[in-house]
Symmetry: C2
Subunit: 216 residues, 2 copies
């Protein structure tokens, strides 16, 4: 019984470290993250942190996984469970803009992509995995939309997924610099148009533009 | 005469510091950049660096300007001086992918946009200015293309510029994570299609698709 309580406390401390590290790495980057900062944020001593994490690399990887879980949840919630195909794809795009992760610092993939560029293979692998997962999610929605006849059969799901992610992440970068959602809004409208117009089967093109337009 | 030589030497040292700092900030980020690292790279002592730059903020801003000048030059060179409008727009897109800055670390705007997010107004202003300059450059090419009848009159230049930059920067981020140019190639093809198809005046749409296709 006592052993269980101890373990639970250890888990709680570990979780506290991961959460503090998640905000730290997302805001300050890998190089800018420091043990001193983490000690201040958690109120723990060096030994109390090293008991749970043996290296900065390991902690950064755990922190990224936490950040990604939270960001993905924010994007995936508020999706109508009845929706499918193109409608669901559009909800994913809208959610990227409407529902941000509560962890300060912005999209973890964008932040870590810059950061994990050089010399941190563990972190790099986690970020790549998150990006692959997100890409596959969109690819499967595109395939669903093709099966439903909403998207033309010749469409390459990988290209659509890549373009949606690139456009949103790039627009997020601009929006952060501009301190305005303007770029994200333009990206959103462009992607809806791209889906409704460029991807729609030839015969459905005109009706799709009107029918699928979302009132948001 | 001696005074002039001294000044020239001072300028040379200053330039050496800026160049070393440019690579450092672009690769390690603002928080990750350190005086110790810079001393090692330049072979200068602390006082020798502080003689030229009074603060990390000031040095980071100078380093960004240097990085942006070099990156912009790489993108603007190799543009056919005879080209105009849509053709020039496409060359700018191709150059973003073909000709990278010799400074290691990737696109300075992408790197600094993440970095200058919090608490460095001087650096932030430089990065914003660079982004505004790049946006205006593309906007003016879109206006030129409208005047030449290559792009439909109702096109909003700001939207086109925002989308081109967002798509390229987002694809660059993906390409860095993937260690492959695949995302950039898909983005490039998408942007050509967007320009040739979505932006072309209604009457010119079909011929434009064939005529404007570049053999690269």
């Amino acid at each position: 019984m006592q052993e269980n309580t101890k373990m639970a406390k250890g888990d709680q401390t570990r979780q506290k470290i991961v959460e503090a590290a998640a905000a730290m790495f997302n805001q300050r980057g890998y190089e800018g993250a420091s043990l001193a900062y983490l000690m201040e944020k958690t109120g723990l001593k060096k030994g109390g942190i090293y008991r749970h994490f043996t290296s900065k690399e390991e902690l950064a990887a755990e922190a990224f996984d936490y950040n990604w879980t939270v960001a993905r949840r924010a994007r995936m919630e508020h999706i109508d469970p009845e929706s499918a195909g193109v409608e669901r794809l559009k909800q994913l795009i809208a959610n990227f803009i409407e529902y941000r992760s509560p962890v300060p610092g912005g999209c973890p993939i964008l932040n870590y992509a810059i950061d994990s560029d050089d010399g941190n293979p563990l972190l790099r692998e986690r970020v790549s995995k998150a990006l692959r997962g997100w890409t596959r999610r969109i690819e499967s929605l595109v395939r669903e939309a093709i099966e439903r006849g909403e998207v033309s059969a010749g469409t390459d799901p990988k290209t659509v997924a890549t373009l949606i992610i690139a456009t949103l992440e790039g627009a997020l970068m601009i929006s952060r610099l501009d301190r305005s959602d303007d770029a994200l809004r333009r990206a959103e409208q462009h992607l809806y148009q791209y889906i409704d117009h460029d991807l729609a089967p030839r015969s459905a093109k005109k009706p799709a533009l009107r029918k699928e337009k979302r009132s948001r």
